[in-house]
Structures are given as structure tokens and as C-alpha cells.
């Protein structure tokens, strides 16, 4: 089944000419054609002829022996990465017809490595959300169903929900995601796939539509930990166009997977045993601890005392940055414009019509916390607390190599649930936000199903720029868990 492969397996098949890149691409286009109506994982599917032309070019490179590390691998691209000549919407009405005349650095890197793009995947509008419910192009549906309840549509998580659903359902071998407070890891956990948020600065932000600049980081969403390493190698790297991009060398990340984890010290942060944590998640966490012990890790209790302030800090800093980052959507140079007799009238009409409610609310919240009289109490305070959160991690990492936590407090929930109380929705990110605040790398690995058959993920958090250890530990969990389940809606199912 070509749509069920890992990147690593597909690459092996292409290298040995077991199948062609064209066949692989066609299989995925067929899967998208069959499943996208139900899942709405893609906002834009590239024209078949273009996809096949890319695949043919990849086949030619395989024949010539010049194939890159992602060559011929069909993937989805979160619709937050600007793609030259291909509509890029950020799942917003504001950019419904925006066709960038430029290619983001991350997608350019992937193209340079030979990847074949299938289309642009759905997301929460401007990446603001944890359920993929705020997309102007309609919600993405999680391909997983509760056991015995095929009727209830579940959320794929967010904001990279289209990417996670596509990868889980066999509509792409892998996909790019972006993570600001958990937007790669949480949907990966909800959809039973692997998601890696690298260290802030690993992947260039140039050409990726900004949500919160000090937090946004692109990363891979894949079916295996080794795939995440492989794809990150292609995505990452220094970019002179991004002042916050790191100029450290990019290691061969995939080689870290399978390395022995014996003797590594794994910290278990006490504060993550938060109230509201579901029993199945706790059980899975305990199981993960046991697996790592069995693999030779030393498990240590640690404390990250400011964990509980991570979310509130995040919900000041991220909206503040977004309120400023989204000021450029003003109806003048690109995107939607609503006419009005005055300049302010154009601004107000355009931004009221172009932004959905969640985006509007976050812009307003961000405007408020930065405004005169409130800056010190909110924004400045949050930046100071952010320092404390970062110090928590630094202190913990003096004693341990990685941290192990659940990725999310529960499994995927139903569409429409948690919608009325924004704070309830925000709590989905409680375990993912702190690593974003500190800028450290974190990986979500699917490790099992809960009693209603939904996937659960565990999160491995590492030191700045130490993705390799994170991947090694993630690989050990993956090997121990042997997670091979597939969702109810899948390209391979009932076909």
C-alpha cells in the first residue's frame, strides 16, 4: 500500500525502483480525491499535472543517481507556508485569493531536497487554535473515530490539523506543520502520528505567515520518529533572511533514531501531573516511563515550578505579537479589501470581514495587553515570567537529558466541544506551551490507544539544539510502543 509507507520506506522503494515517484504521487492524489471531502484536510490540492510533473522530475533524478533526501516523497504543506504561484490562505478569508510571488525558505528547502508537494493543508485561521475549528475553509475532521461511535466527528487538533489528518489518513506521506504553542505536537498526538517542534531558530521563518514571531517554529509531521529526523534535515538550516535563524550545522537527525538510550537521564516534571489530566493519559505516561526504564534510561523526578503559568504567559505574549504581526492585513497591498469612503473605514471593514472571530479576539487581546496603562501589568510581566519558565528548563536540564510528559491532557475531542469557553480550549495546550516559551525542541510520539480507541501521544522535551537526543528517546518509545494502528478513515481502509 503506497499510501501507508513511512518516508524511509518510500525512499527505499524509490531507490530500488520498486515503484516510481509518479506511482507514489498518483496513489496519494487518488487518496485525496477519495477522502478530502470527508476530512477537509486540504484547502488546496495542486493540479494533478503539476504533481505528476514534479514526480517525473524526481524519477529522472533517481535514474540519474542525483536524488535528494526527500526526492519523490509526496507531502502536504501547511497552508501557512507561502508557496510561489500556489494560493496560500492561512485558512483566512483575508488571504482567500492570495498567490505569493515567493517561496518560503522551508518549502524551498524541501523542494530542493526533491519533495513532491500534493497541496496545502488546512489549519486554524492564522494558526490560532487547537482544534482546526477556526478555519475559514471549514473544519478538518480527525480520521480517527471513537470505538462504536463512527458518527461523532472529532477534531484533529490544531493548528496543524489538516497536516496531521492528512498524514494519519494516508493523504500524504508526511506534512509540514508549524508550532507556536503546540500546533505540531498536539494535533500529532490527536491523530496518532509523530510531530517534532525543533529548537526555535532551527527552521527559517522567512515566508511562513507569522502568528507569534518569538514562538513560531516549523517542523515535520510524520509516521515515524526517523521520518521526523529525515524531514527536519531537509527543512532546517541557516537562513540569512531570518535574523533569528540559527547558523549551527544541521546534523543528520535521522541517524539519532535507533541509537541506544542507555544511561540517559529522563526527567518527569511533577507539575505536569495537573488536575484534569485524564486517567488514560496518566496510565500511558506511566507506561512510557516503564518503557524508557526498560531501555536503560534513568528516570528522575524534576520540578518545573512555573509550568502552571506557561499558558497564561503564552496567552499574553502570543496575542500581543499577533496583534502587531497581523496589522499588515489592511486591504491595501494584498488580500481582501472591503471598500469604504475613508481609509480607516477600509481598514475596519476589511479586517472585520477578513478575520474570523478567534483571530479578531486574539488581536484585540494583544492590543489590550500592549496598550498604555496595561503594558507593564501584562506584557512586561509575561516576559519576566517567561524568563522564569526558561530558567525552569535550564535548571532541570542541568540534571537530566530530556523530559517526558504527556503531549495533551486528553485524547481528541468532538467538534463543537470546548467551543464556548476559550480558556477550556486553551487548556489543550497546557503541556506543549512551556517548551515553546523556552524555545526548546519537543517531540510527540504516538504510544497507544485509549479505551475508546483514540491515539495518545507522549512528549519528549530536550535541550536547546539537542534534537538528536530527543529523537533517540522518541525512537526508543516508538520501538517499545510498536504503534501500528490506523484510523477508521484511511486510504488503505475498505478500498
Amino acid at each position: 500500500m503506497l499510501t501507508g509507507l513511512t518516508l524511509t520506506q518510500a525512499r527505499a522503494g524509490l531507490t530500488t525502483r520498486k515503484f516510481s515517484a509518479r506511482e507514489l504521487a498518483q496513489a496519494h492524489l487518488d487518496a485525496i480525491a477519495r477522502l478530502n471531502t470527508a476530512l477537509n484536510a486540504y484547502i488546496t490540492v495542486l493540479p494533478e499535472a503539476d504533481v505528476l510533473a514534479s514526480a517525473d522530475a524526481a524519477d529522472a533524478r533517481y535514474a540519474a543517481g542525483t536524488a535528494g533526501i526527500m526526492d519523490g516523497l509526496p507531502i502536504g504543506v501547511k497552508d501557512l507556508f507561502c508557496t510561489k504561484g500556489v494560493r496560500t490562505t492561512a485558512a483566512s478569508k483575508m488571504l482567500a485569493d492570495f498567490v505569493p510571488p515567493y517561496e518560503s525558505t522551508v518549502t524551498a528547502n524541501l523542494l530542493g531536497a526533491g519533495a513532491v508537494f500534493l497541496g496545502k493543508t488546512n489549519l486554524d485561521e492564522f494558526a490560532m487554535g487547537s482544534a482546526n475549528m477556526s478555519s475559514a475553509f471549514g473544519p478538518t475532521t480527525n480520521p480517527w473515530k471513537r470505538k462504536g461511535d463512527e458518527a461523532t466527528a472529532l477534531v484533529p487538533g490544531g493548528s496543524s490539523g489538516g497536516s496531521s489528518a492528512a498524514v494519519a489518513a494516508g493523504m500524504a506521506l508526511a506534512a509540514t506543520g508549524t508550532d507556536t504553542g503546540g500546533s505540531i505536537r498536539q494535533p500529532a498526538a490527536y491523530c496518532g502520528i509523530v510531530g517534532l517542534k525543533p529548537t526555535y531558530g532551527r527552521c527559517s521563518r522567512w515566508g511562513t505567515i507569522a502568528f507569534a514571531s518569538s514562538l513560531d517554529q516549523a517542523g515535520p509531521m510524520t509516521r515515524s520518529v526517523a521520518d521526523a529526523g529525515l524531514m527536519l534535515e531537509a527543512m532546517a538550516g541557516f537562513d540569512a533572511k531570518d535574523s533569528t535563524s540559527s547558523n549551527r550545522a544541521v546534523p543528520q537527525f535521522h541517524k539519532a533514531v535507533g541509537k541506544s538510550v542507555k544511561g540517559l537521564r529522563v526527567g518527569i516534571p511533577a507539575e505536569y501531573r495537573a488536575p484534569g489530566l485524564s486517567a488514560d493519559v496518566v496510565a500511558m505516561w506511566e507506561q512510557g516511563i516503564a518503557w524508557l526504564k526498560a531501555a536503560g534510561c534513568e528516570v528522575v523526578d524534576v520540578s518545573l515550578p512555573h509550568t502552571r503559568y506557561g499558558l497564561t504567559t503564552y496567552y499574553i505574549i502570543a496575542p500581543a505579537e499577533c496583534s502587531s504581526n497581523l496589522a499588515r492585513y489592511d486591504g491595501i497591498r494584498f488580500g481582501l479589501r472591503k471598500d469604504a469612503p475613508s481609509l480607516d473605514g477600509v481598514y475596519e471593514a476589511t479586517r472585520a470581514a477578513g478575520f474570523g472571530q478567534e483571530v479578531r479576539n486574539r488581536i484585540l487581546m494583544g492590543t489590550y495587553v500592549l496598550s498604555a496603562g496595561y503594558y507593564d501589568a501584562y506584557y512586561l510581566k509575561a516576559q519576566k515570567v517567561r524568563t522564569l519558565i526558561r530558567r525552569d528548563f535550564e535548571q532541570a536540564f542541568e540534571n537530566v537529558d530530556v523530559l517526558l510528559t504527556p503531549t495533551a491532557p486528553s485524547a481528541a475531542f468532538a467538534q463543537g466541544e470546548n467551543m464556548d469557553d476559550p480558556v477550556q480550549m486553551y487548556l489543550n495546550d497546557i503541556f506543549t506551551v512551556p517548551a515553546s516559551m523556552a524555545g526548546v525542541p519537543a517531540l510527540s510520539v504516538p504510544v497507544g490507544l485509549n479505551e475508546v480507541g483514540l491515539p495518545l501521544g507522549l512528549q519528549v522535551i530536550g535541550k536547546h539544539f539537542d534534537e538528536e537526543t530527543v529523537l533517540s528517546v522518541g525512537g526508543a518509545l516508538e520501538a517499545a510502543a510498536g504503534f501500528t494502528h490506523t484510523p477508521s478513515i484511511h486510504a488503505g481502509a475498505g478500498a
Binding site: V99, P100, P101, T199, Y200, G201, S214, A240, S243, T244, S245, S246, N247, Y309, T312, T313, Y315, I316, S323, G331, I332, R333, F334, G335, R337, P341, S342, L343, G345, Y347, E348, A349, R351, A352, F355, R360, N361, I363, L364, M365, T367, Y368, S371, Y374, A377, K381, A382, Q383, K384, V385, R386, T387, L388, R390, D421, P422, V423, A438, G439, H464
Partner: protein, 95 residues
């Protein structure tokens, strides 16, 4: 801190998001709920703690003073919802 309607209106104006009167109250309530939750930050003692700007993993990089960009007017203007000749246009602004 509790958010009143006047402040909500002022923020919406600052952010240039045109909200109808009835939307303002709903927005006020939503934001107020979030603010109530955020107020727990007040209990954190940050005496002597410096604010974290960015993620502080690198120092600011600078580029050489070279002209490397420009002359792409057509490609840029093609993205604009309204143009006139070589210009972007807006409703007449009185200064």
C-alpha cells in the same frame, strides 16, 4: 482587571477592527473571561527578573549594505486589490 465597553471599543478602534455595537458586548465578555484567567499571573514574584526578549539563542545578525532587491513592481502590484498606474490606492487621506 475588568474590561468595560468603552475600553473594548477603544481597543477595537486601535486594532482597526470594525465591530458592530452588539458584537462589542459579546467581545467584551469573551475577553473579560480570558483576562480573569490571565490575572493569575499577578501572583508570580518577578522581582529582579529580566524580561525575556525573543528566545535568546542567538545574537542579532547584520547584513552587508548592498542593493539586492527591488524592481519587482509588477509582481508586487499584481497582488494588490486596487491600484492605479504604478501606485497602490486608498481613499483620499486628508492630513
Amino acid at each position: 482587571m475588568s474590561l468595560d465597553l468603552a475600553t473594548t471599543r477603544r481597543i477595537a478602534k486601535l486594532a482597526r477592527i470594525g465591530l458592530e455595537e452588539h458584537e462589542l458586548e459579546a467581545t467584551r465578555q469573551k475577553l473579560n473571561g480570558i483576562l480573569g484567567w490571565i490575572d493569575q499571573l499577578a501572583e508570580v514574584d518577578v522581582t529582579g527578573v529580566p524580561p525575556m526578549v525573543g528566545t535568546e539563542t542567538e545574537t542579532l545578525r547584520q547584513r552587508e549594505d548592498k542593493v539586492t532587491d527591488g524592481n519587482s513592481r509588477d509582481a508586487l502590484l499584481a497582488c494588490a486589490p486596487e491600484t492605479s498606474g504604478p501606485f497602490y490606492t486608498v481613499p483620499k487621506v486628508v492630513e
